[in-house]
């Protein structure tokens, strides 16, 4: 019976069926994506990340509860809510699971894909909306107690849901714009709008906030609709999918050995000199390649965002002894991100063909990874050294950071030398 079922599943008819009915196609694509990802998730769990997260959540809840009981006077709760909620309102990406082959096989069915796209929008909105609601629910006790004139929980919840729906609409319109520059401008407008209207609802009274937000929202939607757009942006959908899948694989690559995919490229010509210093130095050939790749990768953006958040938190805590813990936490997070460097160019054929030492790549990755960690640490130490803590404490934190970097380097050196030997 099982064999009969298996045969049926692999018959040409059963493979073609999903392509003919959009609802089936959507279910098929979602299950195919998760079917590919789920087997790797056990490596993520095994890595200890799950434990760290659980510990972080438990410790976070305890600290948060204790903080709510002793909120300092004049605590900048509106600023904090603004920084936390605005990105949750603005962030919106739409997953369609369309693949390049669809351009050939689904193009003729474009007019029938309405149901498919509706499912795509619902699928994309649900987790992001949930994240926003969770953010508001978690923030509410603090906001309610610390804000001098807090607004009703339900009013704010309703408003945030409405704002998120407008952000979804904006993101959907952006996807249809063929001109890259206009798409970029509209995306920037969405972010500015989201931060602006969130600020309105935190600082202004309900009536004024409603008027300003409503007017801004309508203006934003009208402007977005006036820009020339495609009827069905096949290529933009596929590019967005490529970026998303690449992000997922980059994340998983930190836990399990996966072939790297084509990364999204950010030109950043002002950073070219950092890679050029290795040109024509044979012992630094991989230094050249890796530095160039890193400087144009999404990884640099992630690290810069982490540094910016770290600096902000360290500035707030610069007079307290919490800052040492935060610094080491961010250093560990950046070290974890740097693990993605080890996947860069790992499976390239040129690594086997070019006349370079067999461990040239690993040496270059170690060097780059350590350089990044040293620079990040020096930056993060600035607010600590400007604080009012004792000299001995600040020195201890600096030494501990250096020890962390040395430990990370030694750990990676042993791990990746072994991997290189195993591959040989």
């Amino acid at each position: 019976m099982a064999r009969v079922k298996a045969n049926r599943q692999s018959s040409p008819q059963s493979n073609i069926k999903p392509l003919l009915k959009p609802e089936h196609l959507w279910a098929n694509r979602v299950s195919a994506f998760w079917g590919e990802i789920v087997p790797y998730l056990r490596y993520v769990v095994q890595s200890g990340l799950g434990m760290v997260l659980v510990f972080g959540i438990v410790a976070g809840i305890a600290l948060y509860a204790s903080f709510i009981e002793h909120i300092p006077p004049l605590f900048p709760v509106r600023e904090l809510a603004w920084v936390l909620i605005s990105p949750l309102v603005a962030y919106m990406t739409i997953r369609t699971f369309l693949v390049p082959a669809d351009l050939v096989f689904l193009l003729r069915q474009e007019h029938k894909l309405g149901a498919y796209i509706r499912k795509s929008l619902r699928y994309s909105l649900f987790p992001r909306m949930l994240l926003l609601i969770m953010g508001w629910v978690i923030l509410w006790p603090l906001y309610h107690r610390a804000d001098p004139e807090p607004k009703s929980f339900l009013v704010m919840l309703f408003v945030l849901i409405m704002l998120k729906l407008v952000a979804l609409h904006g993101s959907w319109v952006e996807r249809h714009i063929s001109d890259v520059r206009w798409r970029f401008i509209l995306r920037a407008v969405r972010y500015v709008w989201a931060w602006g209207v969130t600020a309105c609802w935190l600082w202004l009274d309900i009536a004024m906030a409603g008027i300003v937000t409503g007017a801004a929202g309508i203006l934003y939607i009208i402007c977005a609709r006036r820009i020339p757009a495609l009827r069905f942006p096949w290529e933009a959908h596929m590019e967005a999918e490529r970026v998303h899948v690449n992000r997922v694989y980059t994340f998983l690559g930190g836990f399990v050995d996966l072939p790297t995919m084509n990364e999204r490229r950010f030109a950043r010509p002002w950073l070219d000199w950092l890679g050029n210093r290795f040109a024509f130095r044979r012992d630094q050939a991989y230094g050249y390649l890796l530095t160039k790749t890193f400087l144009r990768s999404e990884l640099l953006g992630i690290i810069l965002r982490l540094v910016a958040i770290g600096l902000l938190l360290l500035w707030w805590t610069r007079h307290t002894m919490w800052n040492g813990f935060i610094l080491l936490l961010f250093l560990t997070a950046i070290h974890a991100q740097c693990n993605a460097l080890y996947q860069m160019h790992r499976h390239d054929v040129w690594r086997l063909l070019y006349p370079l030492e067999k461990d040239a790549r690993t040496k270059a990755v170690l060097q780059l990874s350590t350089e990044i960690q040293v620079i990040v640490t020096l930056l993060l130490l600035i607010p600590i050294w400007t604080g009012m803590t004792s000299f001995g404490y600040r020195l201890s934190v600096s030494i501990l950071s250096a020890l962390f970097i040395i430990f990370f380097r030694l750990q990676n050196k042993a791990k990746h030398r072994k991997q290189d030997d195993d591959e040989d």
């Binding site: 040109a279 050249y288 390649l289 054929v349 063909l353």
Partner: protein
């Protein structure tokens, strides 16, 4: 004359016990261009992979300048530049950066590199595209970038898999012109191609592979003579390409290298 490359009794493939190549023998001499020809699945790419060291021979050996890859890996690698059938470029890098990366890996001096790149870019009409990201290049430009990377480092042996794929007629002419120049300067080239009419007049010798075996080898005339014995209705005066097709027809082969169903 000592051969630059010697493929000696090479038997190999992806799985032990099921070799794709069977006792393949041929040499490439300094300053010589050799065409590796055959139908799809004949073993051309597998042969190249063995020469490049991407596959381990099950029997026999490959030597370059008298040494194997295992004996002197860095010297062996320095002696070869490879151009794959499909361009393998990094999305993050520009054309110029690909050239610098190759030159750095092969230890080319910066001043010499600049002269070479200037010449190559003009030859392949790529001067205005040198600072473009690889992901924004057309298929032909990607292939030209691969070729320029190989020619910028000037090793003794070039291994080029299907060099004309994606090139426009101007690009093909520039490539043939440059390959001849390299040959005159003493470099050797091992080129696999389906377009026999293009390489017939440029290659000094040919190796015809069929089902993983060397079916015939020699100059164009020698190869024709060997094939004529198998396909008697063609003339010696015919082009190598015509003789080759006549042989394919006579043997009842399809383009996959197997027997046609109607035979």
């Amino acid at each position: 004359m000592n051969p630059l490359l010697k493929v000696d009794q090479l038997t190999g493939g992806y799985s032990i016990g099921k070799p794709v190549l069977h006792d393949v023998n041929f040499t490439v001499n300094p300053g010589e261009m050799v065409g590796l020809i055959g139908l799809n699945g004949a073993g051309k790419s597998t042969t190249m992979k063995h020469i490049l060291g991407l596959m381990e021979p099950q029997k026999g050996k490959v030597t370059l300048q008298g040494t194997t890859l295992a004996e002197q890996p860095e010297n062996y690698r320095s002696g070869i530049a490879y151009v794959p059938e499909s361009p393998l470029l990094y999305d993050a890098l520009t054309v110029r950066e690909h050239l610098i990366w190759s030159a750095t890996a092969y230890g080319v001096d910066e001043d010499i590199f600049k002269k070479r790149v200037e010449h190559l870019a003009k030859l392949f009409h790529m001067t205005s595209h040198l600072d473009k990201a690889a992901q924004h290049l057309s298929k032909g430009m990607k292939q030209k970038t691969m070729l320029m990377c190989a020619f910028a480092v000037r090793p003794p042996l070039y291994i080029i898999d299907e060099p004309f794929l994606g090139l426009d007629p101007l690009g093909i002419r520039s490539l043939l012109q440059f390959m001849s120049q390299m040959k005159q300067e003493g470099a050797s080239l091992l080129v696999s191609s389906h377009i026999l009419s293009t390489i017939e007049h440029y290659c000094d010798r040919f190796v015809l592979l069929h089902q993983g075996k060397v079916l015939a080898a020699g100059t164009a005339d020698e190869l024709k003579a060997q094939l004529l014995q198998r396909a008697s209705h063609v003339q010696v005066a015919d082009r190598l390409e015509d003789v080759f097709y006549a042989w394919v027809e006579n043997e009842g082969l399809d383009s996959d290298g197997g027997l046609s169903w109607h035979e």
